[in-house]
Structure formats: structure tokens, C-alpha cells
């Protein structure tokens, strides 16, 4: 069995919690996810990139742990859960900034459309010939965690 994919073994081999998001089922799978990951990095304001970098470090194991019950004896590969988290994070931050609100809303709208389509048609509306199926829970958890990490860590005091 591959030593990097996310499987139930991750509880004994914790690196899988991160590396499962790096390995893919082929170059096409990897390229599509890389494009999705690059977009929030390019659009995010420079001051938000630190938050994105922190999210890329902290969110993968959280998404992985949330996915473990769905895997059974199978394995998970792919960065789209993380990509969804970054889209939600960058989208929410941009929506709250003056001048970038339309871009942020567009990102959140696109994300909502993707989750809506997956909820309506299941993960099977895009076929994968290599015999694996899309785990839509990865996208849902990614969005939730991304939205949560976009919120300020504590309430800012209002200026007197």
C-alpha cells in the first residue's frame, strides 16, 4: 500500500494526515487541483497570504481526521479539500474588504455552486476512469474549516 495516501493507518503513521493531500491519482487529477489551489493565492491580498500559509499547514490534518470515518478500508488522495478551504478563506476575507467585495462574492458563489452540484448529483457527476470516486465530504469539511479560519481570532475592540 502507498505510504503517503490517507488511510486508516494515519493514526499510526501521522504524516499521512498531511501527505494524503499531496499525492494524487494521476497528473490530470493533480493539475486540476493545483489550478484550484493557485487561484486563492493569486487573488488574496498580500496581508492575507500569511493566514493562507498557516491554513495550508494546519487545515490538512484537520480535514484528514474528519475524513477518516468515511474511508473504511479505502484510501484518499487529493488536494481539493484543502483547495476548498483556501477558496472559502480567501473568498470571505476578500468579501469583507472594500474594493474586493465582488471578487470575494464570486469566489464564495463558485464554491457554493460546486457544493450544490455535488449535493444534487453526488460525486459521480464527474467520472474518473481510474476507478476512484470523489469524496464530497472533503469539500464540505474544507469549506467549513476555511470559513472558520477566515474569522478574526478574537473580536477587535471598537475605537472609542
Amino acid at each position: 500500500m502507498d505510504t503517503l495516501a490517507l488511510t486508516a493507518e494515519a493514526l499510526r503513521e501521522p504524516w499521512r494526515l498531511w501527505t494524503g493531500h499531496l499525492v494524487h491519482f494521476g497528473w490530470e487529477h493533480a493539475l486540476a487541483n493545483a489550478v484550484a489551489l493557485a487561484v486563492p493565492w493569486i487573488l488574496a491580498a498580500p496581508r492575507n497570504r500569511r493566514r493562507l500559509a498557516l491554513a495550508m499547514l494546519v487545515l490538512p490534518p484537520l480535514v484528514s481526521l474528519l475524513l477518516l470515518p468515511s474511508l473504511g478500508g479505502g484510501e484518499y488522495r487529493g488536494a481539493s479539500g484543502l483547495a476548498c478551504a483556501l477558496w472559502a478563506l480567501a473568498g470571505l476575507r476578500l468579501a469583507g474588504q472594500q474594493g474586493s467585495t465582488p471578487v470575494g462574492l464570486l469566489m464564495l458563489g463558485g464554491l457554493g455552486l460546486k457544493l450544490g452540484a455535488e449535493a444534487a448529483f453526488g460525486g459521480s457527476f464527474l467520472l474518473h476512469p481510474d476507478g476512484w470516486q470523489t469524496l464530497t465530504a472533503a469539500h464540505r469539511w474544507g469549506v467549513l474549516l476555511g470559513l472558520a479560519s477566515a474569522l478574526p481570532p478574537w473580536p477587535r475592540p471598537h475605537p472609542a
Binding site: 500500500m1 502507498d2 495516501a5 493531500h21 494524487h24 491519482f25 490530470e28 487529477h29 493539475l31 486540476a32 487541483n33 489550478v35 484550484a36 487561484v39 493569486i42 487573488l43 475524513l67 468515511s70 474511508l71 473504511g72 478500508g73 479505502g74 484510501e75 484518499y76 488522495r77 487529493g78 488536494a79 481539493s80 479539500g81 484543502l82 483547495a83 474586493s100 465582488p102 471578487v103 464570486l106 469566489m107 463558485g110 460546486k114 464527474l126 474518473h128 476512469p129 481510474d130 476507478g131 476512484w132 470516486q133 470523489t134 469524496l135 472533503a138 469539500h139 474544507g142
Partner: protein, 286 residues
């Protein structure tokens, strides 16, 4: 008293009976005769079982019939064997679990060659699994009521007094070469019916034989694909203790239960993301 009229009558009766007797042609090749020619009991496969690593290299061959290969027996026209095996090849060439399909000429398989011969051929072609195709074709010719007109000679060339049925059953058994484990089997069948005059009976039977084999082979390719899916599901459920399938990533199908997951953005979504990026950058510049 002259015997000539009696002789002529006897000859006419003989000719009449010869023209009007039902006839049966059988063409048969047996997998059992090929793989287990002398064994009273089938040899035991490797107890370790088969471990198939995807993608597979598949060899396909017709097993020899009787004492000679199909082509040597002149049961298939030259070139027909490849044409038939191509039907299977075309059906499977886009399957992700097969990397290569090799068509093995039947002449390379010795009658009664057994697993030893199968191993030799598999090594020669570098294949992991062999699909051994056996054929059972029965052709029946039944005279119609007006076939007595054949006696007029003209009738034998003009009136289609023969009803010709060709029933073909093709069976493909797939074996793992390394362990000699039987993996799966699939059937293919066809029925071709027609009528002919006495003079063109043999020609039509030959044509129907070729057509029947082609139709049965198409049916076989379809069934083989379905059987392969069922086989994978059985392995994933752990019902085949003697077989394991390892996918391209080295994941055992038995362990994963056939369920591998990916998080993915589809190409449509990735293009949508790029369009959004372009739009946003343009908006910013503006």
C-alpha cells in the same frame, strides 16, 4: 430381364436420399483437452493464489481443436483468427485495468499442451493473464419438403431446399499465468439461420460459420467485460480468497474493498476557476 432399370432406380434413390438426409457438422475445441490432456485429476493451482498487478497484460488465443490448431485443421479461413481476436481487443483497449492485449496465434498452442505450453506462450508474449478461447459450433442442414426437386438437377441449383442453422458457443476462460489460478469465464453465443440450394450449401455453411463466430465473439467481448466487473467486485468483497488485485498505486483491492477516494476539482471547475481569476485580475486593473 435387364437389370439396368433397377440399377438406375437404386442410384436415383441413393441420390435422392443423399440430397435429402439431414446433415450435422460439428467444430469443437476443448479447453479441458488442451489444459488437462492426461490428468485424471486437475493439477492443483499454486496454494498462494494469484496476485494480479494492474494494469494487466492480457493474451488471447484460441485453444487447439482435436489434434491440430484451428488454422491447421482449416476450420478458420486465413486471417479470420486475428479478425476474431481483434473483436475482443477493440472492446478492451480503453479499459484502465488493461495495459496491453496480445493476440496469440493458435498455431503456437500445441494440442494437449497443458499449462506448460500456456506458460511458454505467455513468456514469449510477456503477458500476465491468458484468455483461452474454446469454440463449439454445430451446423445443421435440414431438407425442406420440396428438396426432392434436386433430382431434376436444375432444382439443385435453383430451389433453396436446405434449411441451414449454425449455432456457435464460444467460451473464454481467463487464467493467471504465474499461479495457474482460474480467474473467470465468460460465454458468447450466436445463431445464424438461412436457406440455400443444394449446390451452394457448402458455401453458405462456410459463410455462416464465419459470421456465427464473429457474432459470438462480439457477444463474448460484452460478457467478458461484465464478468470482469463482477470478478473485481467479488475480490473487493473478499469472496475470492485465492485472488488479490493490486491497483496502480499498489493498493490491494481486497484491503481497500475497491473503494478509493479522491478530492478533486473537475476540469470544468478548474476552467471556471481560471475564468474567475482572469475576471478578478481585470476587475482589479480597472
Amino acid at each position: 430381364m435387364s437389370r439396368r432399370p433397377f440399377l438406375a432406380a437404386a442410384l436415383a434413390l441413393l441420390a435422392f436420399l443423399g440430397c435429402n438426409m439431414p446433415e450435422t457438422h460439428v467444430r469443437r475445441s476443448s479447453l479441458m483437452d488442451y489444459l488437462y490432456p492426461k490428468e485424471k485429476a486437475a493439477p492443483m493451482p499454486n496454494p498462494a493464489g494469484a496476485r494480479l498487478k494492474l494494469p494487466l497484460k492480457l493474451g488471447v488465443a484460441f485453444v487447439p481443436g482435436g489434434t491440430a490448431s484451428w488454422r491447421v485443421q482449416n476450420l478458420m479461413a486465413p486471417g479470420q483468427e486475428k479478425q476474431l481476436l481483434d473483436v475482443v481487443k477493440r472492446s478492451f483497449q480503453d479499459r484502465p485495468w488493461i495495459s496491453e492485449i496480445k493476440l496469440v496465434p493458435g498455431a503456437y498452442l500445441r494440442p494437449g499442451g497443458g499449462f506448460e505450453n500456456m506458460d511458454q506462450v505467455a513468456r514469449m508474449y510477456g503477458v500476465d493473464v491468458m484468455a483461452l478461447v474454446s469454440v463449439d459450433q454445430v451446423q445443421n442442414t435440414d431438407p425442406r419438403w420440396y428438396s426432392f426437386t434436386y433430382l431434376s438437377i436444375v432444382g439443385a441449383y435453383v430451389l433453396p431446399g436446405d434449411a441451414n442453422d449454425t449455432n456457435t458457443l464460444i467460451d473464454a476462460a481467463v487464467y493467471d499465468v504465474a499461479s495457474h489460478t482460474f480467474l473467470l469465464r465468460a460465454p458468447g453465443q450466436s445463431q445464424v439461420k438461412g436457406s440455400s440450394t443444394w449446390a451452394y450449401r457448402e458455401k453458405q455453411l462456410r459463410e455462416h460459420s464465419a459470421k456465427g463466430l464473429e457474432l459470438a465473439m462480439t457477444d463474448l467481448a460484452k460478457n467478458l467485460d461484465a464478468e470482469m466487473g463482477a470478478f473485481n467486485a467479488e475480490v473487493a468483497r473478499g469472496e475470492r480468497k485465492d485472488v488479490d488485485v493490486v491497483d496502480r498505486q499498489g493498493v490491494s483491492l481486497r484491503q481497500s474493498g475497491g473503494r478509493n477516494f479522491g478530492g478533486s476539482f473537475g476540469w470544468i471547475e478548474a476552467l471556471g476557476a481560471l475564468a474567475l481569476l482572469g475576471l478578478a485580475l481585470r476587475f482589479r486593473r480597472g
